[in-house]
């Protein structure tokens, strides 16, 4: 919200610093709650993906069911670059993210003319088209079902990108991208995105070129997906065909909704929760873990439409507001 003195900077310092501290200290505390090295990196990668997804769903109000298209495109191009060009991650990530951007311009241009469920279905269709291309038409390039294997160990010039190095790289990228997301949301550009969600017609009649804002919002969201996809390959030099699949698209939707749509913080929490649940809690639950996760998701949607963030604010209200 615009405050009277319109200070965009100050309100970003505390959340971004907190975010940075929590992530950077993760290797020291994460194992005490059952986490292990490697899972932390994966969580940070998914956090980046979820931030971008929230810009599209939470702020602009467009539910994409095909975001794996951008994650996957970037992952494949990053993998192909590492395999055929150089094991240096900088050109690989750059090409990966650019490929996601190009893909976003194409898909966005074709799908954003529709809203609501039609948009969702169109994105799902495009995502699945790419997925099937990866599996069949392009299998000489992509390795089909087996995925892209035999990638060299990624390097950042002379630094081997393994273990802690990957973790700190992803954390730094995540901090920068979180800060950028906050700036986008707080800017006039972000205000236009929120206005698209609120009332597209009014915005058009206020002299705003709505179609362009929608396309740029979509592309920004895809950049986050692309960065996450590229980092996933740096983390684990193997491109799985599932990176293109609807399952991955669905996962980011669930994370975002679970955490709290339109809060940036919520989807990050949702991403962390999902991966933690899938990899740590599931061990105690055995085969039933998916069932429990499904129940948690349903309970959240029914009782807490605002996700974890709403739960947090309700608890806070109960504690401070007392009888109110």
């Amino acid at each position: 919200m615009i405050s009277d003195n319109a200070s965009f900077y100050k309100k970003d310092i505390l959340p971004v610093t907190t975010f940075a501290v929590v992530l950077l200290t993760m290797p020291f505390w994460f194992r005490y709650i059952g986490g292990y090295s490697g899972l932390d990196t994966k969580i940070v990668i998914w956090i980046i993906f979820a931030i971008g997804f929230d810009i599209l769903l939470g702020y602009m109000g467009f539910l994409s069911f095909g975001h794996a298209a951008f994650f996957g495109t970037s992952a494949y191009f990053t993998g192909l670059m590492l395999l055929h060009y150089s094991n240096n991650i900088l050109p690989a990530i750059t090409v990966g993210v650019i490929s996601a951007i190009i893909m976003a311009f194409i898909i966005g241009f074709l799908t954003l003319k529709r809203t609501g469920i039609y948009f969702s279905i169109l994105t799902l269709a495009f995502g699945e088209m790419l997925h099937s291309m990866v599996l069949s038409t392009l299998q000489d390039w992509t390795g089909g079902d087996n995925g892209l294997t035999g990638l060299p160990t990624p390097m950042l010039f002379d630094i081997k990108m393994q273990g802690d190095n990957v973790f700190y790289l992803t954390v730094i990228v995540a901090i920068v991208m979180y800060y950028i997301a906050r700036r986008i949301i707080g800017s006039p550009f972000g205000l236009m995105l929120k206005a698209i969600k609120s009332n597209q017609v009014r915005l058009e009649y206020t002299g705003v070129h709505v179609a362009r804002y929608k396309l740029m919002g979509f592309v920004i969201s895809a950049v986050y997906a692309g960065v996450a996809g590229a980092l996933m390959i740096v983390y684990e030099p193997y491109v799985a065909s599932e990176f293109m699949g609807w399952h991955l698209s669905g996962q980011v939707v669930i994370m975002t909704v679970l955490g709290g749509v339109g809060t940036l913080f919520g989807p990050m929490l949702g991403a962390a929760f999902m991966l933690y649940f899938e990899n740590v809690v599931s061990v105690y639950l055995g085969a039933q873990w998916l069932l429990v996760l499904g129940a948690i998701f349903m309970a959240t949607v029914i009782f807490l439409p605002g996700g974890f963030v709403e739960a947090g604010s309700r608890i806070k209200k109960a504690l401070t507001g007392g009888g109110k």
């Binding site: 615009i2 002299g207 070129h209």
Partner: protein, 253 residues
């Protein structure tokens, strides 16, 4: 001087002639009302003006430039703003944010990738938004979420949204529809003040004759898609064709 010229505009829906050969000239700085029974084609005409509908034939010139075929946001950027029948505002945003959107749109000409805007560069827009809110009497409520406003205040907010763009012409579709008497009186005063202050040309579609006769400099009467009478309020009041159109019942739907 004419600011808006409508030439030979016709529009058919199926076999129904919604507009037939409409010719209309709006003079700069005036308040021009369009009246007529239900189904006379008033709203169709407004929709043609803002780019929502493409007429079958005819031309519309705004400040000498053709309007037809342009997108709604382009027409708005030309200086033609529309106030809707049911207030169209950004419901879940604050009053100030609502108007700030319009101020940014005016400054950026429809699109700008300004994700790293600084507070200093945003200030003129925020100031303009506050000033506009002050003009329409909503400054005190600037932090309220728009959906919490009363209907009269929502209308005011929508006008502020349009005015922050500093338009040359305002199109108002039944600005007092569904309003209580006090709100109607306030709206009349507000429109009068806007017209006096900024010299903004207004085209008003209205059913409430009290509003029409207390505001208008000029009135055009539409019936069955045609303009049947034009003139200053006193000429229209006793015009036999107008009385026939309203009381004859033939055109009622």
């Amino acid at each position: 001087m004419a600011i808006l010229e409508i030439r030979d505009v016709s529009k058919n829906f199926g076999g129904l002639a919604a507009l037939g050969d409409v010719n209309l000239t709006i003079e700069e700085g005036t308040i021009h009302s369009l009246i007529g029974p239900n189904g006379a084609g008033k709203s169709t005409l407004l929709n043609v003006l803002v780019g929502l509908l493409e007429p079958d034939v005819g031309t519309v010139l705004f400040k000498g430039e053709p309007v037809l075929g342009k997108a709604p946001h382009e027409i708005n950027q030309m200086g033609l703003a529309r106030v809707f029948q049911t207030p169209a505002i950004f419901d879940d945003m604050s009053v100030l944010e609502n108007v700030a959107i319009a101020a940014y749109a005016a400054r950026d000409g429809g699109y700008a990738f300004n994700v790293f805007e600084t507070p200093a560069s945003a200030k003129p827009c925020i100031d303009l938004a506050k000033e506009t809110l002050n003009d329409v009497g909503l400054f005190e409520q600037r932090k309220v979420i728009a959906s919490h406003l009363s209907r009269g205040d929502k209308r005011r907010l929508e006008m502020a949204l349009c005015l922050a763009r500093k338009p040359d012409m305002l199109l108002l579709d039944e600005p007092t529809a569904g309003m209580a008497r006090a709100d109607t009186e306030n709206t009349i005063k507000l429109l009068q003040r806007i017209s006096d202050k900024g010299g903004i040309t207004m085209v008003i579609v209205e059913h409430d004759m009290n509003v029409v006769f207390s505001l208008s400099n000029y009135i055009s009467v539409l019936a069955q898609g045609r303009i049947i009478a034009e003139g200053v309020p006193d000429e229209i009041k006793g015009h036999p064709k107008v009385i026939e159109a309203y009381l004859g019942g033939e055109t009622e739907e």
